[in-house]
Symmetry: C2
């Protein structure tokens, strides 16, 4: 069995100064090429700890991905650690050095610290990085692949898409992990489990089922490495069992479902006003890609006390997060005016901190998604 493993290198990850979004990106990508990630670790900028992690990873995994530690500074140690793990010497590669110097020509001379980025070991090939100075490394040795990529997400993603993913697909052609997800809002995890009953208690052979609480509701995910056609009937049964609490499947998101419902009701353009949410509604709506069949979001205003400015568009969604009560419970006041209206309604939400703000926004969008034609 081919195992994939990820080593995320950087003290800033373990110190909590950076959230490791690369791990989630690579986990999702690896699943689509049938090499699901089995292990993922964060490592400090310590040459011997990184070396030991590569040694251990090569013992149990066929594919070892690494991100980070390829920069020009003294704390970038992934190259040295791989050389140590494979007991191979580092050398400066003249062609790589020439490319790096060419890259820096536009800015003046190359800082001397960048010479470290032109080093290789005998079993490593350089992976081009067209948008940064850190080349990646591709190492095939003893039947194990190591692919070391930069930690900067844009550079990592491009190197993954152009260099690493195609090579892995060529070496390890696998059926992809097929998944179907059904999403609901307004019920808890255990209530969802009860309503789904036998659908999740007795799934077909080879199908895994997981239930996850998220800011945008509760998701049930069916997945298989086998015949994907078994998943559609499961998703359809889950949709039927969840009824109106289900708002979509797979790529459907709650803001998209809300904006699609408004479009059905004839609203072309929506704006927002919100108070005490630090712009959570505006951030969620702004991040929703525009597509055919959904209402266009125009922008919004923070704080209902603002004397001037919008409303703009055909309808204005208003959200006001109320103070937490003595038990730490929250309510959010939601209303919509314009071409479609929602009378002022108070909804309960859970959570604290930034999650509380996002859940207030999602609760409002769930109310929009459920609006009946009589609201017009």
């Amino acid at each position: 069995m081919t195992n994939a493993e990820l080593l995320s290198v950087g003290a800033e990850l373990l110190l909590g100064e950076t959230v490791d979004t690369n791990a989630a990106f690579l986990g999702a990508e690896l699943a689509t090429i049938g090499l699901p990630l089995r292990h993922a670790r964060m490592l400090p900028d310590d040459r011997s700890i990184i070396r030991d992690a590569f040694i251990e990873a090569r013992e149990r995994s066929t594919v070892v991905l690494a991100t980070g530690g390829l920069g020009p500074t003294h704390d970038d140690l992934t190259r040295e650690a791989i050389a140590d793990a494979l007991a191979e010497p580092l050398h400066e590669d003249p062609a790589l050095l020439a490319e790096l110097e060419e890259r820096f020509r536009a800015f003046g001379r190359m800082p001397s610290s960048n010479r470290r980025q032109a080093t290789l070991i005998p079993s490593a090939q350089a992976l081009p990085n067209p948008i940064g100075s850190a080349p990646g490394w591709w190492v095939e040795s003893d039947g194990v692949v190591i692919a070391a990529m930069p930690g900067v997400p844009s550079e990592m993603r491009r190197m993954w898409a152009e260099q690493v993913r195609p090579r892995l697909e060529a070496l390890f052609a696998r059926p992809p992990l097929a998944t179907r997800t059904v999403k609901a809002f307004g019920i808890g995890e255990s209530a969802m489990a009860e309503r789904l009953g036998a659908i999740i208690a007795e799934p077909p052979d080879g199908v895994d089922v997981g239930i996850y609480a998220r800011d945008d509701g509760v998701h049930v995910r069916f997945s298989t490495l086998g015949d994907a056609s078994v998943l559609d009937p499961l998703a359809n049964r889950a949709l039927a069992a969840l009824g109106e609490d289900a708002y979509g499947t797979d790529e459907t998101d709650l803001p998209g479902a809300a904006l699609a419902r408004l479009a059905e009701l004839g609203v072309a353009e929506l704006s927002s006003w919100e108070s005490d949410t630090d712009g959570a509604l505006l951030a969620v709506l702004a991040a929703t890609p525009l597509r055919d069949g959904i209402t266009r979001y125009l922008g919004g205003v923070l704080d209902l006390g603002t004397p001037s400015g919008p409303p703009i568009g055909d309808a204005v969604l208003q959200v006001s997060l109320l103070p937490q009560d003595a038990h730490g419970r929250s309510r959010v006041r939601v209303a919509m005016s314009g071409a479609v209206s929602i009378p002022p309604t108070e909804l309960r939400i859970h959570g604290s901190g930034p999650q509380r703000l996002r859940r207030a926004a999602f609760a409002a969008l769930d109310a929009v998604r459920r609006v009946s034609s009589s609201g017009r």
Copy 2:
């Protein structure tokens, strides 16, 4: 030496469906109580893999934190895995069961699957979860502490703050990791390293130095577990060496620096217009907490083509992300009108995907931060 380790449990993490923000939160918190995180792993919902991870973690770490796998559904296996790792039997705890049933009384009867959340092992104490159904576990055995917390961030954070952190502080009083960070925009990592020179090449004994490329620029972080007073002179020398490219230290963020500069120039309220950024500017500005001494952000509009609506406030920041050129390079057009003005200016940015959009917003805010008094 006391080592802290984190096990993040959940298939959704390795599949990339959820970004593990808990790891960053706990990493930052552990550093503040002098128990820096040395290892962090993600684990699938597999009882034997989780068991083995707890066995391995207990061998090398004094404090083992876990998040996730405490829910009511069949794929929540952290309790069982800890019981297996310690070879202790699981039993249903009558007091915990009564609390759970009381909790569900308000919603009707308790789903039977939640009974699993009332189980303990002999060496585990339950950690109360006032905002969710999953109690945590606190296990002291063989000189090692295990603290298992829910995966839902709001529940984990509250249990951490009220239960786990105070117990760890009582058991392992340590000097906290002291850090100072200096942040700059408009230069790369290696240019920063050159300009800092000896400040980072020869730091005082016991001081670690790291340089990190982020969406909001490049950060240099000085940290020590020893005498914190050595850090201030280092930060001050770094600020001096970076000159106008430095925009702040520690908690200062780039939007805050930009809004503080506008406030100095007499702008009370700012709005924004942006195109082809999916609302990145609006999201960044909305997430900036309002405080004294900074201009208040009122909201904004997506797409400069919008015929009606704002400008509102004293000044309008306009950002237009231009298409990538044939080499994948991006430029962003920035302008500001109103009480303070910036003539239309094109700035270069790096990155792709969502990072490209965020960097466009940060480049605009950097231009605002650098605006001179003549812009008034």
